[in-house]
Symmetry: C2
Amino acid sequence: MSGIEDVATLAGVSKATVSRALSGRGYVSAETRTRVSAAAATLGYVVSSSASSLVTGRTNNVGVIIPEINQWFFGSIIEGVERALLDRGYDLMLYNTTKTVEERSRVFEYFLVRKRVDAVIAVTLEITAPEAERLLSLGKPIAGIGGPLVGIPTLSIDDIEAARLATEHLLLLGHRDIVHVGGDIDEQMDFHVHSKRLRGYREALEAAGIRYDSDSHVATPFDIPGGYRVGKQLLGDPRRRPTAVFAACDEVGIGVILAARELGLSVPEDLSVIGIDDHPLSEMFGLTSIGQRPDLQGEQAVDWVIRQLEEPGWTPPSKHTFVPARLVIRSSTAPPRR
Amino acid sequence: MSGIEDVATLAGVSKATVSRALSGRGYVSAETRTRVSAAAATLGYVVSSSASSLVTGRTNNVGVIIPEINQWFFGSIIEGVERALLDRGYDLMLYNTTKTVEERSRVFEYFLVRKRVDAVIAVTLEITAPEAERLLSLGKPIAGIGGPLVGIPTLSIDDIEAARLATEHLLLLGHRDIVHVGGDIDEQMDFHVHSKRLRGYREALEAAGIRYDSDSHVATPFDIPGGYRVGKQLLGDPRRRPTAVFAACDEVGIGVILAARELGLSVPEDLSVIGIDDHPLSEMFGLTSIGQRPDLQGEQAVDWVIRQLEEPGWTPPSKHTFVPARLVIRSSTAPPRR
DNA sequence: TTCCCGTGTGCAAACGCTTCCAGAATCCTA
DNA sequence: TAGGATTCTGGAAGCGTTTGCACACGGGAA
């Protein structure tokens, strides 16, 4: 394992020059630079990141806190973040933590406590103002996916708007009897995604002059089996069956479609279904959806923190950023059967 | 940001004693230890990992190379690895890289080149002997999920055996006309998982005295749409329709089930389907499967590398380890109709 | 009593870089 | 031609820890 000293002697220069030549900082003549690079190459030299971190105070690591991995939304974010980080020469330290409050604060302390990351990207993690303050005061940029969050740049789709869009699509097709299959409102984490989507749905309904009652909304876990179970229940009774379902995410929507099929209903003739996400499976099921791109959200968050690190004076948007979500019409929605 | 010096003066001892008290190495009287801890706590002191890495040569990071994130198998591995690593006080550096040869070697160089990780866990990455040699000679333990791989401890289910088990289950039920829907044999990476599963299937068939011909096997991507497309094609022609399908993974199996339903066939009456994985969705579809636990595989790999790091003299198994895979019977398999 | 060993502590030397500073050489401008 | 600005290089001082070594102290064995 050769050090900078070896490279220096081989190239016939000082350690200082090697450092400058290799890092590209400061003046080095072209000739010297090539000689140093050659020496480094023959020795297989590579700088010790601990040593340089020690003096520069930079680790070139970015920490990512994420509550799930095995879900399309979160997995895609990680992919986007990873790609963007590696492109810029940073490494990704992954912290998978559940959403319970204790766990959350433990992880948070963990981050504050470590001198191991230059920045933090928090996915679906409600960081309180004092916590953010503390992190920021340590000079560590932080960005959030989900939000809004005070004092921290955050981004997400506009959940209310997306839900409204989805509901309006159904309304426009002529549906009046639309059930929303969403998440559990009592889950307080997650930036109230569930209640926001419910709200967008209600607002669209009310704008169309349709009464909303508590039967119009049913909660279930955000996965295919969750949608399936609710679908079975909801569609089982013919006299209470809606003509359309707005599912709070595509997995749930797919579950509902499967339940409908199993009950002998055809989609969209007997039932229209719309979801949110544009999940990779949605195309196969013909599921109409409000699409979003979690991978791009991850890239955006990376961009924010890295620019703060590298461009002195640059500051990220001070308010929450809404990323686009667009309607993708497929074959699961149609006018209600006369 | 207070350093060890501050703690030392506050506690009225030397830096050396602080270091020993906090790290638990060397002799420190109980009284001193508590005084130091108190001082550290009031100052909010935390050791600089770069500084201690510089002297100890340890980073407390483990690198994980993985080709995918957004797939159940890989996501579960990451979850298991992350959990095990955090429990032991290590951080996880994630490298998501595709399986193409150039990418692979690039990442590999990347790892060799960095002095940032203490160990490497390679998931589904065929590391060549010289590469392994190099990593090992740097004193960095390495473990692989997938394999076998010479010179590196690896683990995986026994793919041949799993495929045989699945096929035998169908044979035992009385099926003689079984098609294997697997992966593309020409994909050379992945430790030949595809060809191993094909082989287990063939061997079971041959042992039962059933002729295998090239029609018996069809390749498709390892996901639900892949299984669905093949299913549609395969089951479309009634006179060439098998009585059972052995899918190389559950996603494919689920796709086949969906295709069958859509063609009006009922499972298992008209068609039996079995997969491999015991995917979370399989229960909902009643899919019989050969189950495996990627999360535990991840934990096992972590155990190997960490023990090598922490227990001098300990060596991991020198041969490939097969982890258990067990038959989970659900409702997608039954004797063939009449 | 003497000697040795197990404890407890501090000093100072690394660990492998980056960067400030100073000095030398070269170049441009007046 | 003088003088300042620019480019290039090396020496040396850290960065914040860990750890080898030396030393002091006490208790038990001989």
